[in-house]
Amino acid sequence: MALRPLRAARRALESMARGPYVALVGAATVFVAVFATGLFAGALGGAERLLAAWAGEVRVSVYLAPGADLERARAAAAALAPGRRVEAVPSEVALSRLADSLGEQAHVLEGVGPGALPDAVEIEAPGLSLEGARELAARLRSVPGADDVDYGTAWLEGVERFVSRARTAAVFLFGALALATAILVSNTLRLAVFARREEIEIMKLVGATDAFVATPFLLEGLLQGLLGAGAAVLALAGVHGLLVPRLAAAVSAARALTLADTLPPALVVALVGGGAGIGLLGSALSVARALRRT
């Protein structure tokens, strides 16, 4: 006999309506699993995006003490940072660049003398890691006449702190949620089997094939998985909306983080697909167990 998919779907919906608690627990289980995974993937995606943005614009500045020899310092810096673009920036050039960057507010610089800013040597090192930047900065301190070395510490330290905290949190969250998910999944399976054992037994008494018995269960599992995963994706978007402004207050580059960075379409597809898969697998296991028993 051909299975009627529409009837199976109707039976699935009817039994979910009859036992909404079991269906909800199933969806909640998938929600937890998908949310945990999405949180982890989203946090890593965001952190990687921030680090990549930073790596594109690493610039170390060596500020010279008054009277230091700019050309000698440039040569020394070039020797310390082989292969990097090294530029001597005399005080006047620094001042005019600052004026340019200020734009309309350049008038605040009126009356500032030509020697107000120190001479500097700037080293561009795109793609350098944070650790590499720190080492380079330390080396550049030995440039003759160097007074101070700056590598954009403020927000860099912010990113680093965020990444390391995210990693700790992710490990902790992941462990706790994996445990919770495992307990929930096994309970849900037992619950689903128990709630329907009698129904399965009676279906088989009246001549139902295994496929007839299993199809609505599988559809139910699929639907619970889709519901749980859909809700988890919405919750992840909510977390993004809550966290990014807060993060941006600490790390200005985080302002550029979009939903496409933390929750890209490919991740959404993977999460929803994974949720549907968990639902399907969970119900397949539970129904197989029940079918074997009757």
């Binding site: 006999m1 009676i202 007839f212």
Partner: protein, 227 residues
């Protein structure tokens, strides 16, 4: 319709529940299966319903060797058999009409056809007015009538009943027995396992007596067999 040749059934880690039982039940018969508790009545019905395999011997059902029926074909064999149990086995969260409709749903009948048949079945067991109630709100006798209606819904060739009146008072017992009797009168082969001696006396049908898994007697001379 049912033929047993030297059938033995042993459950794992237990003595034989049935031992060397040979028996033939023809189309259209009404047979009581009786004997003390533990005699093997339920086991025999389970073998016929393909719920348990025989340990030894041959069991032919509708002319087919049950041992040779594949697991995937069993549901289709069962579609020729209605079953009724002492504990009714109704789904508590489905209405009376939905319970009766279940075997018809399984067979993929059209909804309209199902509704029509269910109405007729409930009328035949006198429960039309209970169609939308849930089984737990019915009396035991009513629940068993629903179970009989469900068993008869697909017009099975064979009806197996395991202590169908075990939970009922004498009056409800007769109501349910009359339904089984009526089904038999319309051509269904009926096998009823019971230890209720008054039924055997009242209906005067063929009686198969089991004792400790062995066939003790077979015939309609009940009094001699059980005394």
């Amino acid at each position: 319709m049912i033929q047993l040749f030297h059938v033995t059934k042993e459950y794992p880690g237990d003595g034989p529940a049935l031992q060397d039982v040979s028996l033939e039940i023809d189309k259209g018969e009404f047979v009581f299966l009786t004997g003390a508790s533990g005699a093997g009545k339920s086991t025999l019905l389970k073998l016929i319903f393909c719920d348990e395999p025989a340990t030894a011997g041959q069991l032919l059902l509708f002319g087919k060797n049950v041992a040779k029926i594949s697991a995937s074909a069993i549901p289709f064999v069962r579609r020729n058999i209605g079953v009724v149990f002492q504990d009714f086995k109704l789904l508590a969260n489905r209405t009376v009409a939905e319970n009766v409709a279940l075997p018809l749903e399984v067979r993929g009948l059209a909804q309209k056809e199902i509704r029509r048949k269910v109405r007729g079945l409930l009328r035949s067991v006198g429960l039309e007015h209970r169609a939308d109630k849930f089984p737990p709100s019915l009396s035991g006798g009513e629940q068993q009538r629903v179970a009989v209606a469900r068993a008869l819904a697909p017009d099975p060739a064979l009806l197996l009943a395991d202590e169908p009146t075990g939970n009922l008072d004498p009056e409800r017992t007769l109501e349910v027995m009359d339904l089984l009797y009526g089904a038999n009168a319309r051509g269904t082969t009926v096998v009823v396992a019971t230890h209720d001696r008054s039924l055997l006396e009242r209906y005067k049908k063929r009686v198969v007596v089991l004792q400790a898994g062995r066939l003790l007697s077979d015939g309609d001379s009940v009094r001699r067999a059980v005394s």
